[in-house]
Symmetry: C2
């Protein structure tokens, strides 16, 4: 089996690579080749690494928005394509053309490439986002809640969802879209994303550092751990094609948790000293953005198809501690 990962240098791409190498198979078939694509050449495990001995790993530095960029990769008829490459929300909001080119046009080109190479059986798995929701949302969203995004990133993702669905319905590709909850706890450092605090208020205290909480403690978020997201991407390739109709996009089963509950759980796991490292400095701009994110979902379709969420927020913190060690 040949698997392609766009956005292969990113956080999810690298973690998915590691998990696929660890498994060695996907949907019961041995993985023979993994092509990782990103703007910069994705890093790959050293060749002496035993887990990757049987797998040919091909890192490619490529601008996927260039005409026919993916043509030679698609000509190899990959079985599975993980399309994770994207310009993030703040960048897409700051530069409409860039966002349209990377988030929408490159996805359309990928679909056209699959059509051109007659990859009707290729599973194309795209990550979509909670940012594609918006407007006058109900208290609890479900699989039939409208996508009325209030940002360009979400708009572009929602358009891709529609197009992937139509190409799949027409039998041109086997598309599958997973809408990701807010991912926490991300490794690394705080970044410019409005959701950065959702990781840093836990990660920094667990690392003995200070963190700033810019939002009220009663703010609720819909979250999923990195490990569960990766398992969902794996599972997304293994669910039979017929189970995805009529619409091949839905929210993954995150869990709803308030910032207060996150900090309370931090205290239970790591003690009051850890919690005391979080300084509360309300930031109106951040609060305005994240308070519009929906936090409560009935993810019936995802659960019916066997996708699993974290069982508790405590499990999320403990998984982070376990992975870090």
């Amino acid at each position: 089996m040949h698997i392609v990962i766009t956005g292969g240098a990113g956080f999810l791409g690298q973690r998915l690579l590691a998990r696929l190498l660890e498994r060695g198979e996907l949907d019961g078939q041995a993985i023979r080749r993994l092509t990782l694509i990103d703007r910069v050449e994705p890093s790959v495990p050293v060749s002496s690494d035993p887990v990757s001995a049987d797998v040919e790993i091909i890192p490619l530095a490529m601008d996927i928005t260039a005409p026919q960029a993916l043509d030679s990769v698609l000509a190899e008829r990959p079985s599975v394509i993980y399309h994770l490459a994207a310009v993030v929300s703040s960048a897409a909001e700051g530069d409409l053309d860039l966002g349209m080119r990377v988030n929408f046009d490159a996805t359309r080109a990928l679909l056209e490439g699959c059509r051109h190479h007659a990859l009707a059986e290729t599973r194309l798995i795209m990550a979509s986002s909670v940012a594609a929701y918006g407007g006058d949302l109900p208290d609890i969203l479900d699989d039939m809640t409208a996508m009325q995004p209030q940002n360009s990133y979400g708009t572009q993702k929602a358009m891709c969802e529609l197009l992937i669905n139509d190409y799949s319905r027409r039998g041109l590709v086997d598309g599958r879209v997973l809408r990701l909850p807010t991912i926490t706890i991300r490794p690394g450092r705080p970044n410019a994303a409005a959701s950065s605090f959702a990781s840093s208020i836990l990660r920094e205290p667990l690392n003995g550092e200070e963190a700033i909480c810019p939002v009220p403690t009663d703010l609720a978020l819909f979250v999923m751990s990195p490990g569960r997201v990766i398992e969902a991407l794996i599972h997304g390739a293994e669910v039979p094609r017929a189970d995805w109709v009529p619409f091949r996009a839905f929210m993954l089963p995150g869990i709803t948790v308030t910032v207060g509950e996150m900090l309370e759980t931090l205290g239970e796991v790591a003690g009051d000293e850890a919690v005391s490292r979080v300084r509360h400095e309300p930031d109106e701009a951040t609060t305005a953005i994240v308070s519009n994110w929906p936090a409560r979902f009935d993810t019936a379709k995802a659960r019916r198809l066997g996708f699993e969420g974290d069982r508790s927020f405590r499990e999320i913190i403990e998984a982070f501690i376990h992975e870090r060690s």
Copy 2:
């Protein structure tokens, strides 16, 4: 005021032209110029027609999918653009590339043209469709029901809705999208559209001709008369910009009626003889398509913004008889 109508040779375009000329104004401003665009040169009233004496009418034969096609028209800074040009559902299903080019790419180019010419105040009104709905729909749809189209035409319209919304949110244009119910009673002859029967089972008997009803009489439809659709397009330009947020697309207030009720009303208005001209010849293909169309909507947003539907199906038949005479 300068108004542009794409699809100006079509049924709605021609009828909108006539109504605008009859009114002479839109949103309180005198209409000075009307540009009608279509693949074939749209017909216009003869210059001796008194209603159009003060209005410059410019019919243009143009392929709106050609690069920069609309540039010279947009350079004139029109106040209102009615974007009615589209490849219909059967054609879009038969030819994916054609549908994408006309229904999606041309709309995107129109948005880009408005952006390029800084037409932030220009009202861009697009017609969308009940065909953009699909999937596991609830019994009664509302303004937050997801668009999960099961056909390429609906997919392309739903993508345009998202893009128009995003360009409007960014202040690049003043976009407004009206989802149209099934229009009945259309003038003319039966055509290849699956919905053709919704007009012909009334129009032909009223004209003393025979018609075939290919669907069960308990099939429900969500319908609107041509006159009400035109009034909605007019009103769509007059509702203040601020009232359209957060999402600038919604279903117009049609009325729900079964085929049986349509024929019953035909009998009340035109007698049993008219009804006897309808032969029932069930067609599985047509029934399969139209029975998936949603028929019951809570159109709260449209009503709040002052859009009006027909008061009864009798009114729809009587309006047709009145207009024909």
